[in-house]
């Protein structure tokens, strides 16, 4: 298959790196070539972060450029807007509608942007409340797995491949909560305007 590019963006500390690792392992377990790119260090302290996972028959570049991502998964609403131009015009957009106020807003230098959710909906975003759904799954820190569930509906991998990697990858005590979060993420996507 030709190369598929998935970009996962969010705020440092939200678990984008772990989620991208799960996705990369699912692709690898399906027999595809995979590359992944992530950034560690200072941005992990609450800054804007992005990771890229690319898979297909043969992958060269581990990263991507504006206008080249097939899927954009944003763990936070404003980050979806920040990275939206990385998505191909026909690409699929999954967004956690939770806002984490950035520093200029927290300290009152700037107002919180308005109309972002509507603008993203206009761009065809699948908007889900991943934090709330994670709570429902009994695992509040598993919003990242909820989003993987939503992402999985747009990717050609068997649900069981995802469940196997999640089971292998998460701490044993949290397997049930994370699997529930994954299923609820898939279900939320079905309820929404999921294409």
């Amino acid at each position: 298959m030709s190369v598929t590019t998935v970009m996962l963006v969010g705020v440092g500390g939200q678990g984008t790196i772990l989620a991208s690792d799960v996705l990369a392992k699912v692709a690898a377990s399906s027999g595809l070539d995979v590359k992944l790119s992530e950034v560690h260090g200072m941005s992990q302290r609450g800054g804007s972060v992005d990771t890229v996972v690319r898979f297909g028959d043969r992958v060269f570049s581990p990263t991507t450029d504006a206008g080249c991502a097939d899927h954009l998964v944003s763990f936070e609403l404003l980050e979806a807007a920040r990275w939206l131009h990385y998505l191909k015009p026909e690409g699929r957009l999954v967004v956690n509608n939770r806002v984490i106020e950035p520093l200029p807003v927290l300290i009152g230098e700037m107002g919180s942007p308005t109309g972002v959710e509507a603008a993203l909906a206009f761009e065809g975003a699948v908007l889900i409340d991943a934090d709330e759904i994670a709570c429902e799954a009994g695992s509040p820190r598993s919003a990242n797995v909820v989003l993987l569930g939503a992402l999985s509906m747009g990717l050609p991998f068997e649900a069981q491949a995802w469940r196997d990697v999640i089971t292998m990858r998460v701490p044993p005590k949290t397997v049930q909560g994370n699997l529930a979060a994954f299923e609820l993420g898939r279900a939320a996507c079905l309820k929404g305007e999921c294409g």
């Binding site: 989620a19 609450g46 992958v59 920040r82 761009e123 709570c135």
Partner: protein, 584 residues
């Protein structure tokens, strides 16, 4: 089945397979995870050194003993280690000696983006540069043999994209390297002028052998496709070239110093237009031009990180259709975490209108608003020596206090010598050691002051206060920076003291604290929207629609910092709405 490994994991695996016996490093993004992975493997002794110079010297000592040894560091760390590096090129090695340097094009987590390939011609040191995880493993493994074969240290150059990119890798088994019985060899290892002059001449001989070796290097590959365009490249940029110019012929260099001039000439003769594609400095371009070969500059920027899109654009491809970036979005810089103990120190320094010379660590984020309490950040350890120089020059005209701030690990790295100089020369500055019991920025590594080693074993917990007193400082205050009033009082006393003063602000990194006391909330009826809590720069506190403070219960760690600044008693303890449970 192949394993998905990061470049750093692959380098660790390759070194282990090569039978490395000793590994030493100082943590630095993007190189940190190499030793963190190597230490988990059997048969190898790994250590965090207090700085990169020590790390490399430990590795050189192991090499002298005949063992294969590895030292890893980030690009600016190699500056610190450059003293031993430049001379170990003369001595050569016993057991294979490999130095991994992680460059950071684009400065994702660094203060500069120097191009470490320059160490090759400068230090006369062979350099291997992998382009993906599989090659990182193979080169790391091979580098030890190459080092022994050439009797030279070998530099393995990585970049952030390689170190923190992942790819599929076939791992192998470890083979123990043969070790000769140690024998003293003074002409080789004692670099007094007489011996060094002989080794200097011998270095030219070894360089000539290394150049021959580069001509046959298995990691240098000529790939002829359409020969109208030929591209010389190496490392991650090779992947970008293959991505966007799949038909072009490529000469992919595995050894980027010394360069294989014959192979470059042959490739140049087989292709029409010859172009170099590389990231950062025009290192390959200048070298190929110096060979008298006609070659085009791809016209790529020498600033920042390259991408496939940038390479495509340089060869005339139209940019892909895309949405216009959304404007007017607030930036999202990183910030000090909720409950970060550094906040108490910087709040006080801002209140005191101090000139603050800063250093390298999470606390550099205090330079950003709203704390805005840092005047400089140059390199590891510079805070103390720069404060001394600033005071020596007469300080700020308005007699503002001069205060250096430095983290515990950075203090061990290169703060001690600066402090020694300040005391020796009768300085009067105040130095704050931000002792959060860990090397936090790079992801929580232990250091000489934490009481644990890289392998998790207990270690002597070196007492910073005792060290500071032993260096001749009489005025020493140890405070808990989470308690704002005592912290500010200690800082004011230290500043007033004639002579060098040290304040040790000791409290663990908030991310190490697993306890999550109930969060605080704002009593709206008591809040006057004065904004004093907002100016702490805590990610959990924001202004609501009426400008009053609001606390996000999920982010709040219950640290009580804001409670101490609210003069209206408007911040009160509450319960959590959704218990924090499992973590992926």
């Amino acid at each position: 089945m192949p394993t998905l490994l990061s470049g750093n994991e692959a380098i660790a695996q390759g070194a282990w397979e090569a039978g490395v016996v000793v590994g030493a490093a100082y943590p630095g993004t993007p190189s940190t995870e190499i030793l963190e992975n190597l230490v988990r493997k059997s048969g190898v002794r790994c250590e965090w050194a207090p700085n990169e110079k020590v790390a490399l010297e430990v590795a050189i000592g192991a090499s002298l003993a005949g063992a294969r040894a590895l030292a890893t560091m980030k690009h600016v760390g190699l500056n610190v280690a450059s003293d031993p590096l430049m001379t170990v090129a003369y001595t050569g090695v016993g057991g294979g000696l490999v130095v991994v340097v992680g460059d950071d094009p684009g400065m994702h987590s660094s203060q500069n983006e120097q191009d470490s390939r320059r160490w090759g011609p400068f230090g006369k040191i062979p350099i291997l540069e992998p382009s993906d995880s599989a090659e990182a493993l193979a080169m790391s493994r091979h580098a030890f043999e190459l080092s022994e074969e050439l009797d030279m240290p070998v530099l393995l150059r990585s970049t952030t994209r390689l170190s923190h990119g992942k790819g599929l890798v076939e791992t192998g088994e470890r083979s123990e390297a043969e070790r000769e019985r140690y024998r003293t060899s003074r002409p080789k290892w004692v670099m007094m002028p007489g011996a060094a002059k002989i080794r200097r001449v011998d270095l030219e001989r070894r360089l000539a052998v290394a150049t021959e070796r580069s001509e046959t290097c298995e990691f240098t590959r000529e790939e002829l496709r359409d020969t109208s365009l030929g591209i010389i490249t190496a490392g991650i940029p090779y992947e970008y070239v293959r991505e966007v110019l799949p038909d072009a012929s490529t000469l992919k260099l595995g050894m980027v110093f010394p360069l294989p001039e014959q192979r470059i000439r042959e490739f140049a003769s087989r292709v029409g237009r010859l172009v170099v594609v590389e990231e950062l400095d025009p290192y390959l371009l200048d070298a190929v031009r110096a060979m008298g070969i006609e070659v085009d500059d791809a016209g790529l920027s020498h600033v920042g990180e390259l991408s496939a899109g940038a390479v495509a654009a340089a060869f005339g491809a139209a940019a892909p259709a895309k949405r216009a970036p959304m404007t007017d979005l607030p930036a999202r810089p990183p910030m000090l975490c909720p409950g970060c103990p550094h906040r108490g120190v910087f709040r006080a320094l801002r209140e005191m209108d101090a000139v603050v010379t800063g250093d390298i660590g999470c606390y550099t984020l205090a330079a950003l608003p709203p704390l805005g309490a840092m005047d400089s950040c140059v390199c590891m350890g510079a805070s103390i020596s720069m404060a001394h120089g600033f005071a020596l020059a007469g300080g700020a005209p308005e007699s503002r206090p001069v205060v250096a701030v430095i983290g515990d690990s950075t203090f061990a790295h290169s703060g001690l010598t600066g402090l020694l100089g300040a005391v020796y020369n009768g300085g009067s500055e105040t130095i704050v050691v931000l002792d959060n019991r860990i090397t936090a920025m790079t992801g929580h590594q232990d250091n000489p002051f934490t009481g644990r080693t890289l392998s998790g074993a207990p270690a002597p917990e070196i007492d910073i206060e005792a060290v500071v007193r032993a260096l001749g400082v009489d005025d020493v205050h140890t405070v808990d920076p989470n308690l704002f009033r005592p912290t500010e009082k200690a800082l004011r006393l230290a500043v007033e003291h004639e002579g060098v003063s040290v304040v040790i602000a000791k409290a663990p990194c908030a991310l190490l604290n697993r306890d999550r006391p109930d969060p605080f909330a704002v009593d709206e009826s008591a809040c006057t929207a004065c904004g004093i809590c907002i100016r702490l720069g805590c990610p959990a506190i924001s202004r609501d629609a009426s400008s009053k403070a609001s606390i996000d219960p999920e982010s709040c760690v219950g640290c009580r910092q804001c409670v101490q600044v609210c003069t209206y008693g408007a911040i009160v303890r509450t319960g959590r709405s959704c218990d924090i449970g499992s973590v992926l």
